[in-house]
């Protein structure tokens, strides 16, 4: 139980970074983002994604456009804003530092 909790916490911590990364190169809609995340085994259930998407959007790191789809309801295509790009590079930098720190602690070199 404790293990699952901590694992979930770790995953959730990096989720925003990953969402922003996925959107860095091209705009995508929710299902596409989901399939990337599922493919990388970062999320298991889709419910985890949506509140984060909404939060990033209300923080103005993301923006979206509606597009009609032939196979169903219209879709929101998300892309990064300027602020979003800044935020992403900050987070990515943070992540790199974290990686180095953790590496150092778990595999101490003489």
């Amino acid at each position: 139980m404790q293990l699952e909790n901590t694992k979930a916490q770790l995953r959730k911590g990096v989720l925003e970074l990953c969402i922003l990364s996925i959107l860095a190169k091209e705009r995508k809609y929710a299902s596409e983002i989901l399939s990337h995340l599922k493919h990388a085994k970062l999320i298991v259930v889709e419910g985890t994604l949506y509140p984060l998407l909404t939060r990033l959007r209300s923080a103005n790191f993301l923006t979206y456009e509606w597009e009609e789809s032939k196979t169903g309801p219209p879709r929101k295509y998300y892309s990064l804003t300027e602020d979003g790009k800044h935020f992403l590079s900050e987070l990515a930098g943070s992540w790199n530092e974290l990686q180095i720190a953790v590496e150092q602690i778990t595999n101490p070199k003489k």
Binding site: Q9, K12, A30, S31, V44, V45, E46, G47, T48, Y50, P51, L52, L53, T54, R55, R57, S58, T71, G72, P73, P74, R75, K76
Partner: protein, 347 residues
Amino acid sequence: MNTTVNVNLAGQHFYFDQAAKVKLEVYFEDIKSYFTDESFLQELMTDVEARIAELLNDIIVDPQQVVTIHHIEKVMEVMGEANSFKIDDDKAQNKTEIKAVRKLFRDPDDRFLGGVASGVSHYFSLQVKWVRLIWLLLGLFSWGGFSILYIALWVFVPLAKTTSEKFMMKGQAINLSNLEKKIKEEFDEVADQIKNADYQKAKRKIKSKTARFFNAVAEILVFIFHLLLKLLGIVMVIAAWISLFIIFTLMFSIGLHEVFDIALGTPYWPPIDIGHTGVSIWQTAFVGLVLAAVPIIYVFLIGRFFITKNSIGGTATHLILLSVWLFAVLLSIFLGFRFADGTVNFL
């Protein structure tokens, strides 16, 4: 066979099973319960709905096909349980869950004397009428000693005045949706009261204080009367059942006895030679049974009527019961004559 409802998800039409619709509604409510910001929720739920519509489109091939609870469960497997939507760290978005506490209060909205019974009924989740009945029984069996306990309760148990106290009285959680509900209820009550206000004013003017006092006394007496009637009804029903049971057993054993006697060729039983009526014993016993059973059935019906105040039995029931009984009466008169004609042998 089921009812179908028309559901609109993200602007798309689906045919839903009634049960599936309810399940989805509950799912949405659960998700919403983790957030307080309305505009955030609106955006979130739009996205969630759109995604669910997408998922259902993949599952449902034919537009005439109905979404069942099974499909919703599959969707929920993909989306995750409602708590997957929770963002733990963000205090601004999350609601703190307040545990529902239940405390003993007196209820000001449902009082006979002091609201003690209704308060107690809320605390123990019983219906008020049963608590009042228990009060009555306790009072009777303790030769009035219970009234001291009642007065003590009246004095020491506080009245639930504020809304949060009323919630605690009923053991409801004090959260936004419950408060909303409560406010709406009270609004409706006030609206109704305003409609009745003029009527009440007129009524009050006519009744003087003494008249109202006697009114209250009369109401108490009527209430007690109804309670006693119910008790009587219970006794009657039980008595009727027992008597009917005994009679049936008796008749059954008489009949059985006769069967064995004939089979074994032993002398007739009982000592009184009812055989002279030219009719076998068990048939006489049967007539006797009907003669006795019908009045007992009536005791049962009246007793049940005292308890439930539902119908005392339809016209058909009465017609059948009375005509059968009349027939039995005539038969027994007929048998009685036969009996008198024949020799009465007391062995």
